[in-house]
């Protein structure tokens, strides 16, 4: 048996395959296709203090090997989450992590405080990289000072594991990773979507109601792998790789480049079983190559 587990501090994950926020609903959308509890963890939908309707339709456009989305954090707010969703998802036998979002630092702080009380949520993912909201979001993730401040503020009130999700839309992502590590982040996850845009040529207008949106899918994988590699060399906390992972080889690219774990995003739209399948694939690869612990291949290309 190959060891697949990894940990963030003292928080154990049974395997390195998580699902990415905003692409896996609250998990239950996938119950018909798999046993969600087999995953290393699930990061639920981006959650805000107040309910949000998100952006106007159209919110999605297909691009070469990817999609643009401009959902804009549609969700029913933390009250609804706590009352309606939490009881249901806390029955999953895996780490359920909430992705939190705000327009102001106070929003993040208030959310973190609320979630700190939820016993079955062992970690939050601090999203400072959403490109689809007018206020907050990516603005926090593209200014070093703001990234520091929001991380520090949340760290002050949140006692469990704090994962900070970084924006790729910056000149030097390593600076950001080091900054949030210094402010007490227990892990960084990257990348969120690249800011992109698509024009509907037939109608001669932007494809999205918001004009720009977030690019995800295999198209961004080379950028994501590069950033993960850069960050993993620089920080001491575990790095979670995200971006365009469709299959086993994609996941292995991230692990070999230095990610301790990975998140499957857009792939779940095309194959709802993608995450589970690549988890099996990773195990097979390790066995075939004679490794007994996944840690042996994390950052292997640097060895």
């Amino acid at each position: 048996m190959v060891k697949l587990g990894f940990s963030i501090g003292d928080l154990q994950f049974k395997n390195p395959v998580l699902t990415a926020s905003g692409t896996f609903g609250y998990g239950s959308e996938f119950d018909d296709f798999m046993d969600v509890s087999l995953l290393g963890g699930i990061i639920v939908k981006g959650t805000t203090l107040e309910p949000r309707e998100g952006n106007l339709y159209p919110r999605m456009a297909e691009t070469p090997s990817g999609i643009l989305n401009a959902v804009g954090l549609q969700n029913k707010g933390i009250d609804y989450f706590e009352k309606q969703i939490y009881p249901r998802i806390s029955t999953y036998n895996t780490n359920v992590i909430v992705n939190i979002n705000g327009s102001y630092i106070d929003d993040y702080v208030a959310l973190a405080e609320r979630i700190n009380r939820l016993e079955k949520i062992p970690a939050i993912e601090l999203n400072i990289s959403c490109p689809n909201v007018k206020m907050g979001g990516m603005a926090f993730g593209t200014s070093l000072n703001s990234a520091r401040e929001v991380t520090r503020a949340v760290r002050n009130v949140y006692s469990k594991k704090l994962i900070v999700k970084l924006s790729p839309n910056v000149t030097n992502i390593v600076e950001f990773a080091l900054a949030v590590e210094e402010e007490g982040a227990d892990s960084v996850s990257l990348i969120n979507t690249l800011l992109g845009m698509s024009v509907d040529v037939r109608n001669m207008k932007p494809a999205l109601s918001t004009i720009t949106g977030g690019l995800s899918g295999p198209a961004i994988k080379p950028v994501a792998v590069r950033m993960v590699w850069q960050v993993a060399k620089a920080v001491r906390i575990p790095v979670i790789g995200i971006g365009g992972i469709l299959n086993t080889d994609d996941a292995l690219e991230f692990l070999l480049a230095g990610a301790s774990a990975i998140q499957v995003g857009t792939a779940s739209f095309i194959d709802p079983q993608a995450s589970i399948k690549l988890l099996e694939g990773i195990e097979k690869f390790l066995t075939a190559r004679g490794f007994s612990d996944i840690k042996e291949i994390v950052g292997y290309i640097n060895k």
Binding site: F24, Y57, S65
Partner: protein, 255 residues
Amino acid sequence: MAKRIESLKILENKRLNNEYFTLELSGNDTIPEMKPGQFAQVKVEGSPETFLRRPISIHDIDPQKNSFKLLIQIAGKGTETLSKLRMGDYLNIIYPLGNSFSLPKNGQKPLLAGGGCGIAPLLFMARYLNNHGFEPVILLGFRNKERIIEYEEYLDLGEVFLTTEDGSRGERGFLTDHPALKSLHYDMVYCCGPDPMMKAVASLCSERGITCEVSLENLMGCGIGACLCCVVDTVRGNLCTCTDGPVFNIKELKW
């Protein structure tokens, strides 16, 4: 009705005209119970331009044969690639997805109105109504007589009226101009077609206080409620076309 992901065998790919074809599918397992209005998310293999699955309505089912059909219009790269599938090839689909048309109340008279590709879910619905003791009025609209598809299939299922925009067969004009819409008696309308057509039918129904359900065709990322890309603005806020729909009562829509 648990959702499934399956590779189904193509029993037949029947070309209807230069734009439309039907695929008949069957699997090793018994096909699941499905309701009219539901759809499948179809994987397009071998089309580099087609990254996402394509939503296609369940067009007709044949429980005896353990098979069902999709009616597809060639609209772009994805559907074009699908049109080249051959008997014996496999198609990977996620299904059945979405809600379905509701049945009329006892004694109510239903009318089905379908334009172009919008007839796709209505054949199944007509059959379903028959099975539940309803005989619908069926109103089909096409651009011209060359584009008429599946007309014969409907003849046994209710009273059928036809319009073509150029008058080459049936009544001339838009489906929404057909006298049947004004003159006949019906209590419940099921409508699928291009947005302007559905909106016209919807406003006609609102005026006359007739219940009307429409089937929407928003762009979909996942088809299972995970991406929130397919939303439609309703009186209850943004709802997902893939899970709260594709069928909506027009009272819910902010049209």
